[in-house]
Symmetry: C2
Subunit: 498 residues, 2 copies
């Protein structure tokens, strides 16, 4: 069984990611979150919000609707340009996404090709249907937005949003006013987006309904740099794959990158902050991380500078995109100004201009999948080594046996803990069996009440990763767990009497 | 200006609820959350999750997709029965929802009427178009789900889900297995639902895209009661409006209701728990709350017992539904068993049966609106008296003046606080002006650093509701704010040196 199957098995057995409408045989391109996946995702979102809103004093969370009117997506360019090239097999009628077809056949990306280029590539390389080997038809552009007809006669044409970003652009004018006309202004959103993918595949990696966490930073390109504390990232060494050096990773320090002058300082700062998020918060190993420069041909129509954030995943055979840093310039606000007739120019520090946008965009489902891949340690015992703050459950409470006052004591601790954190109660099977169940869903701490606990009013806390144990007084449980979660103490320190 | 306009003005000025695509003139039935609204809503969700998952040891959060395949909603009955009666004006072509038209014209509800009954009522009462006075056409049933065509040729017909509930029913079988076959089992979801309302109106009250928080409890009807701690609600006095006593509120104790025997104990227990959530957690005044019995004619096709939760709102001229308690029996699981051919019967404590479902269903947007209505206190000063745990920002940090080391000290405190809570920094205008800004968005605590702070390493904490102030050592800020939020101390106690 390969790594992908191992992860999918964990996912189904433990309730992380599950095909939607499974009892009806599934629904291609749609996945659900089971009870462990839903908590893991919500915790990832909480960490993301805390970290990225923390990049600026004027950065805020908003939430806009997922159905958007036609005019908005016409203005943004999505109605005309948000297309993939679709090609059908003339024999079995299987639809194919042309760029994927070309990449599979030639090993080089077909991204960014138009219909004519695809036609030429198919001819040149003799590409045929992946499914039945039949001849392929003429390639056509296919818009991957889902239309939604609103109103009793469908008179208000809309679409499910293809990205959360547009909601932030529409909100800019009002939020800029409310937030007292300061730049940079950050508007973050965490929510669903929808794309009618031609051939959804690779499990949860390319979904038709997916979750994004996006931060749109509106700024003055002349002065953004002066608002950032470059000192904070000065010593960071970035792991970059340059467009001309596919696929090699080059390590280069921030200072050196800044001195080159080819990429703006504000952009380098944010690449470094994103890398720090993956290294320090999500604990992704350095060698599994890279920033991947995207060429002009591959970039979306609105991006001037674009690096993908990629993580190397055994389950998907190599580096895969989980996020992106996009310098969208003033493109979006200018388009909305033209189409809505609302002025997007601001008067700021003596200058009148349309703010530029830097977008930090994260695919949440891909991040969740990546964490499962990186952290699922299959050995004699299977342990999901998630960072404690991301674990679906912070701790579990066990009575050693179901008698002699132990269940009552354990239940009381369970109820107290439930007031502030996510906790499970388990009184079935041997303690070893209960530890194993918790290890596999990543629960970092298990609390066992035994007869000594009754006497001494304490409990044995067991650490998932070291399997070490330490006795903690009952009245200090919450304090100790809080410190462990926040990293203000370690299990090692507790053992020597912290 | 009426109460509704006051609230809408607050909402727009401060970024709570804002019409979607506002710069394009809005999009009927769709609202966005601005930067204060988004945080308020997320905190409401966190409190809801903590409280309602806390009702059982085997209650869990899940999250399923919003686009659902045709077969699922055919099985659930929504394709055939999820309709409103639509009637057009023959003169101006304005669409009307028949039950609202009848209620507006006659004062009694038209809910549950079929097309023939509506036709008769229109004739009998001489009802004409509300807009132009023209004659009305023939009433027709109108399905209010949004269809979504999935796949390159739209070959996979789907709908945007009209309720989160169905996702939980589809997940039941797998989650029951994963969670080791225990009942009761609770599956909760917080997410969007969509209904193509014929005439969205009353601002955020009847939306086409809205947020639900729903808990589906799967149980054995013969033994559910024995799993519940009825003691916890024994002393609760419920505020009920019985179907036969419209609109009067009767207060009746839980013990008395139980002794009647007409409503199952498990149902009464959950009514009481929901009332406690509104009284104790959301702090809704007793007199503004009632549980409203819904008659058979008004009930949805899947409900056996149904009480609405209503809150009296000045902005909407009276009691309005914000939640509901629905006993859906085994209807949904049985239907999915028939249509999917997957067995939904469980073997539990020596018996084989299809579990019953109790649904606790909350409209989040309505709850947010209700809180704004109840808590917005317009006087000489305008104060949004939200419970501190729900306030968009827990606290704000001010330097008294922008010199002499005060900004540095205040900034440090701001950065430390940002690590664990939502905090604003404000150094503009007089302190009184800054307090006023915070009062209007409900920030419960303001921290001002003055010259004494530099000397004594402390800060003045000001309480929103009493406007009292107390000095707190810098190293105790987090501890004190945590205790205030959790209610383990009061501002009064702090003042006398707690």
């Amino acid at each position: 069984m390969g790594r992908y199957d191992d992860l999918m098995s964990l996912s189904l057995r433990k309730g992380f990611l599950i095909p939607s409408a499974e009892i009806y045989g599934g629904f291609a391109g749609f996945y659900d979150y089971g009870h462990n996946g839903a908590r893991l995702r919500r915790k990832w979102e909480d960490l993301w919000i805390r970290y990225f809103l923390g990049l600026g004093e004027n950065y805020h969370l908003i939430d806009t609707s997922t159905v958007m009117p036609y005019r908005v997506l016409k203005a943004s360019g999505h109605v005309d340009l948000f297309t993939d090239i679709l090609v059908y097999c003339t024999k079995c009628r299987e639809p194919h996404r042309a760029d994927q077809l070309i990449e599979a056949a030639t090993g080089t990306s077909g991204e960014g090709m138009d219909a004519d280029q695809v036609k030429a590539a198919i001819k040149k390389n003799g590409i045929r249907c992946q499914r039945c080997g039949g001849p392929l038809g003429d390639p056509v552009p296919f818009n991957i937005m889902f239309p939604v007809a609103v109103g009793p006669q469908g008179e208000d044409q809309g679409f499910l949003r293809p990205e959360t970003a547009q909601g932030a652009y529409l909100s800019f004018k009002r939020e800029f006013e409310i937030l007292r006309k300061k730049l940079p202004l950050g508007l973050a959103m965490v929510g669903k987006a929808f794309r009618n993918e031609i051939s959804p595949r690779q499990g949860t990696y390319r979904l038709r309904e997916f979750h994004q966490a996006e931060l749109q930073i509106f700024f003055d390109p002349d002065s953004f740099e002066t608002n950032l504390d470059l000192e904070e990232v000065n010593d960071e060494v970035l792991r970059i794959t340059w467009a001309e050096e596919r696929e090699a990773v080059t390590e280069e320090g921030v200072k050196s990158l800044l001195s080159r002058g080819s990429i703006p300082a504000f952009y380098i700062y944010h690449l470094a902050k994103v890398q720090q998020f993956y290294e320090n918060v999500l604990r992704v190993p350095r060698e599994s991380f890279r920033l991947y420069e995207v060429t002009e041909a591959e970039r979306a129509f609105y991006n001037k500078i674009h690096f993908d954030v990629q993580i190397s995943l055994d389950s998907l055979s190599g580096f895969k995109e989980v996020a992106g840093v996009h310098y969208r310039t003033s493109y979006d606000l200018t388009r909305h100004e033209e189409h809505s007739k609302e002025k997007m120019k601001v008067f700021h520090e003596g200058k009148r201009f349309v703010p530029h946008v830097l977008e930090l965009s994260f695919g949440i489902d891909r991040n969740v999948w990546a964490l499962l891949d990186l952290d699922y340690d299959i050995g004699e015992k299977s342990v999901l080594r998630l960072p404690p703050q991301l674990a679906p459950f912070t701790c579990a409470v066990f009575p050693l046996v179901n008698k002699g006052g132990l269940p009552e004591m354990a239940k009381q601790a369970y109820r107290d803990l439930r007031e502030w954190t996510d906790v499970l109660y388990d009184d079935t099977g041997s303690i070893g069996r209960r530890y194993a169940r918790m290890d596999e869903i990543g629960t970092p701490y298990c609390l066992t009440f035994d007869y000594e606990s009754l006497e001494k009013q304490d409990v044995t806390v067991r650490d998932r990763d070291s399997t070490d144990q330490v006795r903690v007084p009952v009245e200090r449980i919450r304090e100790v767990l809080s410190q462990l979660l926040e990293g203000t103490t370690t299990f090692e320190a507790l053992k020597v009497g912290g």
